[in-house]
C-alpha cells in the first residue's frame, strides 16, 4: 500500500445517505480475479443508462467534476456488502479522500487497507462544503499529519482520526508483515489452546 500524508483535490459532492457498496460497484463487475481496473465501473448504474450511455444528471459525468479526487457523501457511506472491490474502484478512479458523517464498519477497514483517507465530519460543516461543491468547482487540502482540512478561502477545520489509522496510512504499512512480527505469539497461542 502506498503511503499518503496529504492530499489536495477537487471535491465531488454526492448528497445521499446510505450509499451502499452495491451502488459503488455493482455485482456484475465482481467476477474479475484482479485487483485493478475497477475504476471504469465505479457507480456504474448511476453513471450509465441501460445502453451504457452516460447519465448527464449524475455528478461524476459533469465536466466540472472531472478529475475530482475527494468525495463528500451522506451518512453510513459504504454500507452493505463486504466487497473490497468498492474501495478498489474508488481508488482506481482516483479518489484518495472520502468525507462523510459516518462510514459502515467493513467498508472503513477495507478503505484503510487501500490507502484511502476516510474522514468523519459533523454534518453542519459537511453540508457547507456540499453546497459549495454543488455550486462550483471546490478544492480542499487534507493534511493527515496535522489532522486539518483547508478550503479554498484558507479556512482550516480540524478532524479526528485514530492515531493508529493515521500511522498506517502515513507509512503505507503492509499489515501481514506487521502481524508476522508477532508470529511467536501466534504459535504460542496455538500451542496453548486446542487449535492445533
Amino acid at each position: 500500500m502506498e503511503a499518503i500524508k496529504e492530499h489536495k483535490g477537487l471535491v465531488l459532492p454526492l448528497d445521499r445517505s446510505n450509499i451502499d457498496t452495491d451502488q459503488i460497484i455493482p455485482k456484475q463487475f465482481l467476477k474479475r480475479i484482479e485487483r485493478t481496473g475497477f475504476g471504469q465501473y465505479l457507480f456504474y448504474n448511476w453513471r450509465f443508462d441501460d445502453d451504457g450511455n452516460p447519465q448527464e444528471d449524475f455528478a461524476l459525468n459533469q465536466p466540472q467534476y472531472q478529475k475530482s479526487s475527494i468525495l463528500i457523501a451522506g451518512e453510513n457511506f459504504g454500507c452493505g456488502s463486504s466487497r473490497e472491490h468498492a474501495p478498489w474502484a474508488l481508488d482506481d478512479y482516483g479518489f484518495k479522500v472520502i468525507i462523510a458523517p459516518s462510514f459502515a464498519d467493513i467498508f472503513y477497514n477495507n478503505a484503510l487497507k487501500n490507502g484511502i483517507i476516510l474522514i468523519k465530519m459533523e454534518e453542519e460543516q459537511l453540508n457547507k462544503w456540499m453546497l459549495k461543491a454543488e455550486e462550483s468547482s471546490f478544492v480542499l487540502s487534507v493534511d493527515l499529519k496535522n489532522q486539518q482540512i483547508t478550503d479554498d478561502t484558507g479556512n482550516v477545520i480540524d478532524f479526528e482520526i485514530p492515531e493508529y489509522h493515521k500511522e498506517k496510512l502515513m507509512n503505507g504499512w503492509d499489515d501481514i508483515a506487521l502481524t508476522l512480527l508477532q508470529e511467536d505469539k501466534i504459535t504460542a497461542y496455538e500451542n496453548l489452546t486446542s487449535v492445533n
Binding site: 441501460d50 453510513n76 487501500n114
Partner: protein, 468 residues
C-alpha cells in the same frame, strides 16, 4: 466469581493473541470460510509475497455466488467460469478443502457452515462476505471481512480488530402466529434504522429469541449487518446443543458432552452490562414488507408507503419511492409483483422451504408471476426432495433449482429484469441488487409464497394452514 461478562467479551478475551495500548487487538481466528468472489486477489497476494496458508485445516471453501442453478454444466459467463476455476486451483495449490459445484456438501457458505458443524459456539469465524454474521446464531463471534483481510487471515490465521462495543437487542414477549424470525429482524431494522449497530456487536436476547429454532436464529443474525453491526449473536442454549449433536465436524461421545458444557457456559452471565440496550416488543410485530431501497424502509403488511411531508430524510424517501415505482401512501397490499424468489443465506433452509410449501400446497402461482425456489445447499435440496417439497413447489408453478446465492444478488443468470418487481426472501433491497433496475421487496418465506399465489402482497395470516 469474577465480574459478570457478556458472551461477546468472553469470546473476545479468549482469542486475543497480542494487545498493545492504542492499537486494535490481534485476534485468533478459529474458522475461515472462503468463496469464489472475494478470494482470488487474496490468494494472488500470497503468491506474490511467497506466503503460505498458515492453517489450511481451519479453512474451508465452497462455490456459491456465481454457480448456475439450472444446469450446473452450463456456465454462459466466461468470467464467472474463470472465477470458479481459479478457486479450485487456489484450493489445490494451498491445500484447502473445497466443496465445489458438484460436491454433496456444496451450498451457500452460511448454510453449509452450520450444516456441517464447522460453526460452533465460542468460535471466531470470518469470511469475505458481510452475511457471515449468520453464524452468530450459534454463539460464535462471526463477521464479514474484505479481501485484504482474507489474505491476512490466510497468511496469519489472525486479524486486527478494535474491540467492539456491545449492544443488547432485547426482544420482549412472543411473536404471534404467522409472524416469523424474518418479520422480527425486519421490524427491528425498521424501528432502529440501518446504522444503529455500527461499531457494535449485537446480542439478541429475550423470550422470543429463546423460542426460535436454530434456523430462525440464523435468519435474525444474518441480517445484523443490515442494521449496521458487523456481528450479531445469540447465547447458546439447549436448542444450540441439540442442533449441533451428530454433525460432521462436531466431536462425538464423551468429547461432545465436554464441549456442550463449555458451550453452555459461554452464555452471557446474569447481570452482565452492555454498552447499549434497545427493546422491542414481539407481540406488536406483524408480517413485514420493505417498500424502499434499504432494509430499514419497511412497514407492516397492513400499512402503506410513507407520506413524504411526514418524514425526515425527505430526499431519500422520495428517491426510493421513485426507484421503486411506488406512490406515497400506497397500501402495501396493492403492490403487484411479477417475480418471487425463495432462497438466500437468510431464508433457504429446510424449515423455510417447509413453511413456504405449507402456504403453496394445493394452490397455483398467479399467471404472469415467475417464481423460483433455490435451496441453500445441496443437502437442503435432497432433504426437501425426500419429503416431497419439490413436487409441492413445481405443481404450484414454481421452478425448483440447484443450490446457490442466485437471485439474492444476481451474479449468475438468475436476475430480475429492469422494472421487474420481486417478493424476495433475501436480505437486501438495494437499487439494482437483483438486476439493474429491479425492484425488491424483502419478506418472509410465507409472505413470499402468499404473494406468489395472489400476485400481490397479502397478509399471510389470512391464509389457511399458516404454520405456527
Amino acid at each position: 466469581m469474577g465480574k459478570p461478562e457478556t458472551i461477546i467479551e468472553k469470546i473476545w478475551n479468549k482469542h486475543v493473541v497480542h494487545q498493545e495500548a492504542g492499537k486494535p487487538d490481534l485476534l485468533y481466528i478459529d474458522q475461515h470460510l472462503v468463496h469464489e468472489v472475494t478470494s482470488p486477489q487474496a490468494f494472488e497476494g500470497l503468491r506474490i509475497a511467497n506466503r503460505k496458508v498458515r492453517r489450511p485445516d481451519l479453512t474451508y471453501a465452497t462455490m456459491d455466488h456465481n454457480v448456475p442453478t439450472k444446469d450446473r454444466h452450463v456456465i454462459k459467463d466466461e468470467i464467472s467460469k474463470k472465477q470458479m476455476e481459479t478457486l479450485k486451483k487456489n484450493c489445490e495449490d494451498f491445500g484447502i478443502k473445497l466443496a465445489d459445484m458438484f460436491h454433496p456438501d456444496q451450498g451457500i457458505v452460511h448454510v453449509i457452515g452450520p450444516q456441517l458443524g464447522l460453526t460452533q459456539p465460542g468460535k471466531t469465524i470470518v469470511c469475505g462476505d458481510s452475511h457471515t454474521s449468520t453464524h452468530g446464531a450459534f454463539g460464535a463471534l462471526a463477521f464479514g471481512i474484505g479481501t485484504s483481510e482474507v489474505e491476512h487471515v490466510l497468511a496469519t490465521q489472525t486479524i486486527w480488530q478494535e474491540k467492539p462495543k456491545t449492544l443488547n437487542v432485547k426482544v420482549e414477549g412472543n411473536l404471534g402466529p404467522g409472524v416469523t424470525a424474518k418479520d422480527l429482524i425486519l421490524a427491528i431494522i425498521g424501528k432502529f434504522g440501518v446504522r444503529f449497530g455500527t461499531g457494535y456487536v449485537m446480542e439478541f436476547t429475550g423470550e422470543a429469541i429463546r423460542k426460535l429454532s436454530m434456523e430462525g436464529r440464523m435468519t435474525i443474525c444474518n441480517m445484523s449487518i443490515e442494521g449496521g453491526a458487523r456481528a450479531g449473536l445469540i447465547s447458546p442454549d439447549q436448542t444450540t446443543v441439540d442442533y449441533l449433536e451428530g454433525r460432521e465436524y462436531v466431536p462425538s461421545g464423551k468429547e461432545f458432552e465436554k464441549v456442550a458444557t463449555e458451550w453452555l457456559d459461554l452464555a452471557t452471565d446474569d447481570g452482565a452490562e452492555y454498552d447499549e440496550t434497545v427493546i422491542i416488543h414481539a407481540d406488536e410485530i406483524e408480517p413485514q414488507v420493505t417498500w424502499g431501497t434499504n432494509p430499514g424502509m419497511c412497514v407492516p403488511i397492513g400499512g402503506s408507503t410513507p407520506i413524504i411531508a411526514d418524514v425526515d430524510h425527505k430526499e431519500d424517501v422520495k428517491r426510493a419511492l421513485e426507484y421503486m415505482g411506488l406512490a406515497e401512501n400506497q397500501p402495501i397490499t396493492s403492490i403487484e409483483i411479477d417475480h418471487v424468489f425463495i432462497g438466500s443465506c437468510t431464508n433457504s433452509r429446510l424449515s423455510d422451504l417447509q413453511k413456504a410449501a405449507s402456504i403453496i400446497q394445493g394452490r397455483k402461482v398467479k399467471d404472469g408471476v415467475k417464481a423460483i425456489v433455490v435451496p441453500g445447499s445441496f443437502s437442503v435440496k435432497l432433504q426437501a426432495e425426500k419429503i416431497g417439497l419439490d413436487h409441492v413447489f413445481t405443481e404450484a408453478g414454481f421452478e425448483w433449482r440447484e443450490s446457490g446465492c442466485s437471485m439474492c444478488l444476481g451474479m449468475n443468470d438468475d436476475i430480475v429484469p429492469p422494472g421487474g418487481r420481486c417478493a424476495s426472501t433475501s436480505n437486501r433491497n438495494f437499487e439494482g441488487r437483483q438486476g439493474n433496475g429491479a425492484r425488491t421487496h424483502l419478506v418472509s418465506p410465507e409472505m413470499a409464497a402468499a404473494a406468489a399465489i395472489e400476485g400481490h402482497f397479502v397478509d399471510v395470516r389470512q391464509f389457511a394452514g399458516v404454520p405456527n
